[in-house]
Symmetry: C3
Subunit: 337 residues, 3 copies
């Protein structure tokens, strides 16, 4: 695809070469994200960070990525404070807001809303999540993290063995990640979920038609015993038809250090799209994994900044100018040393 001046709405836009281009640019952003250098390449540019649904993490990540390129951020943080609430169409909102900024990141609770908005926008739009539909920068940062974690073991994405665990029915991040993996070769995917929260059939088919091997399971320990990546997701109790149903699964998909030690290969990387529910009865990743060097969940969020910087640099066509407008950081920092 031609990134310059374009929208980033769906992972379906990308071919493998596009993803490799994004990751190459993300790599080049590292000195800036690690605060070794400062770039002012987007000095004077404005990001419209339009979150019509609350999300501190994704909103701040996009905003910081734009600041790291030297740009300014104007933002909104909830639909209740918006003209949308007075019956304004997405067309009008897009025509107006695109007059206030150079690029827009938008989150909105309704599926398809961001694409509708982008069609009327006069500036590039990046989808920051539209309901259960798409959240392409999350899928990209997940795949970028997989690539980096495997590269540390001198391997590439082709041939990856991954287990996806938890709510595979409603979790848009695992759907999108499967869509990206379909572009690669010889992936082994193990899907572990309650029956009610199984991966949609069309996604399983897409993987199989791409030549990948897909195994479906309800048993955590077998599934994670021979994988490079264990990708856990949140199971929300309200997804089940009854409390009894929910209780029957309680704890069955929970990964902790003891289970990891007993069942996983020593280099298995643990991922999660976050937030991770750390309350006692959550079905997710135990906090006793926090000291495990293979817990990659915070490397994921760090990588999110790199990927989002790359998307901004690509759509605004400044990739080749980033270094030219840069200088060393002069304040104290202790990251990446």
């Amino acid at each position: 695809m031609n990134f310059v001046g374009g929208h980033i709405l769906s992972i379906d836009q990308f071919e493998r070469g596009d993803i490799e281009r994004i990751f190459q640019v993300a790599d080049a952003m590292k000195p800036y994200a690690l605060r070794h250098r400062v770039t002012r390449v987007l000095e004077g540019a404005i990001l419209g960070n339009m979150f019509f649904e609350p999300s501190t993490r994704t909103r701040v990540s996009f905003g910081s990525a734009f600041n790291l390129l030297g740009g300014n951020v104007r933002e909104t943080t909830g639909i209740q404070v918006s003209a949308l609430a007075k019956g304004e169409s997405l067309y009008d909102t897009a025509r107006v807001l695109s007059g206030y900024s150079d690029v827009i990141c938008m989150r909105h609770p309704e599926s398809g809303s961001v694409a509708e908005f982008a069609a009327a926008s006069r500036v590039p739009v990046i989808n920051g999540g539209d309901g259960s539909n798409e959240h392409p920068s999350q899928a990209l940062l997940d795949l970028y993290t997989i690539e980096k974690e495997l590269a540390a073991q001198n391997r590439g994405i082709d041939g990856l063995r991954i287990a996806m665990i938890g709510d595979l029915k409603y979790g848009r991040t695992v759907h999108s990640l499967c869509g990206l993996l379909a572009l690669y070769n010889n992936i082994h995917v193990t899907l572990v979920s309650p029956v009610e929260l199984a991966m949609p059939e069309e996604i399983v088919e897409r993987l199989r038609q791409a030549g990948h091997q897909v195994v479906i399971s309800q048993e955590l320990t077998n599934a994670i015993s021979h994988v490079d990546i264990a990708y856990s997701t949140r199971i929300q109790e309200e997804r089940f038809q009854s409390k009894q149903e929910a209780d029957s699964y309680r704890g069955r998909f929970r990964l902790n250090q003891a289970i990891y030690t007993q069942f996983c290969e020593p280099n298995t990387v643990i991922m999660h799209p976050l937030p991770r529910d750390s309350r006692a009865d959550a079905n997710e990743l135990d906090s006793d994994l926090n000291q495990n060097p293979n817990l990659a969940i915070f490397r994921q969020t760090d990588n999110g900044v790199l990927v989002r910087m790359a998307l901004f640099a690509l759509v605004l066509d400044v990739v080749d100018q980033v270094d030219k407008h840069s200088h060393p950081v002069t304040w104290h920092h202790n990251r990446g040393v």
Copy 2:
């Protein structure tokens, strides 16, 4: 008036020469708003964008205008998160907040509140809307748009024929626009509204005493048939005493492409202060007008950025320095080409 260091609280501050000065500066802001050039003239300056009532559109417009001049923006977006809710006086709020910024834009739900705030502020204050009272930057962007639209037809504001349509009783934008038009010569104003929502008598008088011709009507099609500008506003159902009353007017002030083609002169410009209610039963501008080149509603919001940049440049006295601190944009843009 002397703009430097002063407040912008009401359209009553302005004489015709002041408006011409604002519009001249707004014109000079165009290369920056269109992203041909970047200026850093207000680098290091801080706008306190204090919205004690939600308004995404106006808030972001002011913030972007300040960013486009190189300044930073600190903001607040609702009265519930404010010390005002704990009984703090506007005097105290103004004394405190004016210590945090170089200029303040304030919106507040109560009439007169912004002037009271400005009296205690140590920095210039721009009224971003105080209840049903004033919203001077909206009136200025409306008149600036009228000027630009007529200039494209090689005409000036003097001699303008304008229809104002909808809720003329509560709509502060049409009140303020009438106030500005009173400064010009030989204006023909047609006022079209339900009887209950008629233009207040003192505003009609002000126009007539300025020598303008005012016609009052309840019939849309006649009113718009010989005008340069058809300025539509929103009718909120809750303004009527009964649902019956509201229903009796439903659709009577709605402008769509068919009515436009049948009744309007070919160059009649359509304006609206936005947001436009695009729900099916709204009494406003149909979306089938979106392709009409004379629909100026998004040129209005674009012009709002220019006018707000001009106000900031004037009160902070940097008009003559804007170009000196500028350089070409190096990122991709496709506006204004």
Copy 3:
């Protein structure tokens, strides 16, 4: 203490030399806060201004302080829009958010939360208030103000005579201020409050063990008659067990110009942590004191910007570079002249 790369969580971190260092840096920030000069020393740096509890005043003060040093601000303004609401631990929130910024200012409703957050953060954290526990920058700006006000009378903090008035039980600002005063010599403290809202015994003890003189009183007029500083705080009616109880104290701790003239020495300085309740039945500082030159409440908030700039400059180790990256202001300003 070594400020570079460290957290600012509690006044208990400071020795007298640390405070003198902070105040010395705050003094050096004055040309920038008064807009005589602009510095870009933190250009490219990002403050994560994380307010998980609403506070316009403190949030904007921290944000403006960071902007005045040339940095960018990303922020959040309420816990309801946060992953914390979905069961995320402070550990996770800290690991994630510290990947998005160079320094974090955090406010949170729970005591101890900011220290817990800081333990997991990869960047310096400044406590912006954690429940009833600590608000160290408020204590520092209060003491800085006392120093400046006394310096205008050619005196230092040692030997200070201060009355603290109002809710001394729940008011964290007076607790923290007492903690700082304990580091100085020969302080005379008079504590005036309803019996139910008396200063906690351990704080009184701390002052006495530091060799200071503490007098406890329920009578305002005596207490303020021989002091350098009258520090008033808010009494919230809901702190009392009954309305009768509350009524019995109504007006007894209220300071106005008549009382000031009759009982105070001519140079007694009036302070308050703000917001001041200006409703008719409030028990605080009357607005007829607004013209009294010894009312220092807005000098306090102005000083807050200086102190917060100093904290940022110290933890990011740019104190010696501030002037090097500076230039004169070119826009209109009328402060500090």
